[in-house]
Amino acid sequence: MPDADFLLTVTALAAASFFCRVGGFMMMRFLRITPRIESALKAVPLAVMIGIVMPAAATGRVPELAALVAAGVTMKMRNNELLAALAGLVVIAAGRWMGL
């Protein structure tokens, strides 16, 4: 059974998520989403993914860095996230197996 700490955390995150889902719908009564706000929001997903990757990239050794390149290049070529992530895993597993 999930503990109280987890349940509290997930409930709070769910509330934040739901707030965003209904917020724009409710806001439309008295606010307009400007192109500038839209431009800011569109930059968020890429920026957050960079946020997830950077610490690993900064502290990574050869297998980790090679895996990042493999994932990025595969995504560029095949445009399939799952395939790209798997390519990264293959490279890192191979690198670790070779003891790099």
């Binding site: 987890f6 995150l13 930059a43 997903p45 960079i50 996230e81 992530a85």
Partner: protein
């Protein structure tokens, strides 16, 4: 006999649910990936399922795993979820003309189930002249179910892997985020926000408590994105 509004019909729900099925298959796969990642981050299968069923946002859940799902980390967690799901403000605003004609209960239930894919489908459907808001609900549910089910199944499958680290599974979150980031890349206009996000992530990772580097990167990207915007 309940009052059946012409703008939200059962047939519309079914139609939306069916039209969204091709997309639902890929959502199942993504859900499974999240299940694997959640297991890797130490969540139980029930915890992973609860998270997908309640938060229901892939990118926000990935960020939450990177930050760490515990009440002590709620400030950066909440910030990250709000930041990543802020795009739903756009989605909801765009759905206003359509959902505004339904009852509040129908509208809020529909918004709860709305995902990136079903929203895009719905906007296309609205442009094609469909005014039955049941479509938005049905297509949303068609995304929601495979996301939750996929999460649970993915977690179960990953728990059978004997040595996750040898397979590089501990790196899967980063590899997946890399792929999503490369996929989100639109062109030259992304360079500055991306550089700002890199710098902010590294700086925050070094200087701030755990988890804030995600928020810092997102805010920096958004700020540069807003600053770079030129009114057309």
């Amino acid at each position: 006999m309940t009052c059946s509004r012409p703008t939200f019909s059962r047939a519309g729900v079914r139609h939306g649910f069916l039209v969204a099925q091709p997309m639902a298959a890929s959502v199942l796969l993504y859900g499974a990936v999240f299940g694997v990642l959640a297991g890797e981050a130490g969540l139980s299968s029930l915890q992973a399922l609860l998270m997908s069923a309640l938060v229901y946002s892939g990118s926000a859940q990935l960020a939450a795993l990177e930050i760490g799902v515990s009440a002590a980390l709620l400030p950066p967690l909440l910030f990250a979820v709000l930041l990543l799901n802020a795009r739903y403000l756009l989605y909801g605003a765009a759905l206003r003309p359509w959902l505004g004609a339904t009852s509040p209960g129908q509208a809020y239930a529909t918004l709860f189930f709305t995902g990136d894919g079903s929203w895009a489908l719905s906007m296309k459907e609205y442009a094609d002249g469909n005014r039955d808001a049941g479509f938005v609900f049905g297509s949303g549910v068609a995304m929601y179910l495979p996301w939750a089910i996929g999460t649970f199944v993915g977690h179960l499958l990953a728990s059978w892997v004997p040595d996750p680290r040898a397979l590089g599974l501990d790196f899967m979150l980063v590899a997946f985020a890399t792929a999503i980031g490369v996929g989100a890349w639109r062109g030259r206009e992304d360079w500055l926000p991306a550089v700002a996000a890199c710098a902010a992530a590294l700086l925050c990772h070094r200087l701030l408590p755990s988890g804030w580097h995600i928020v810092g990167a997102g805010l920096a990207g958004a700020a540069v994105g807003a600053w770079r915007h030129r009114d057309a």
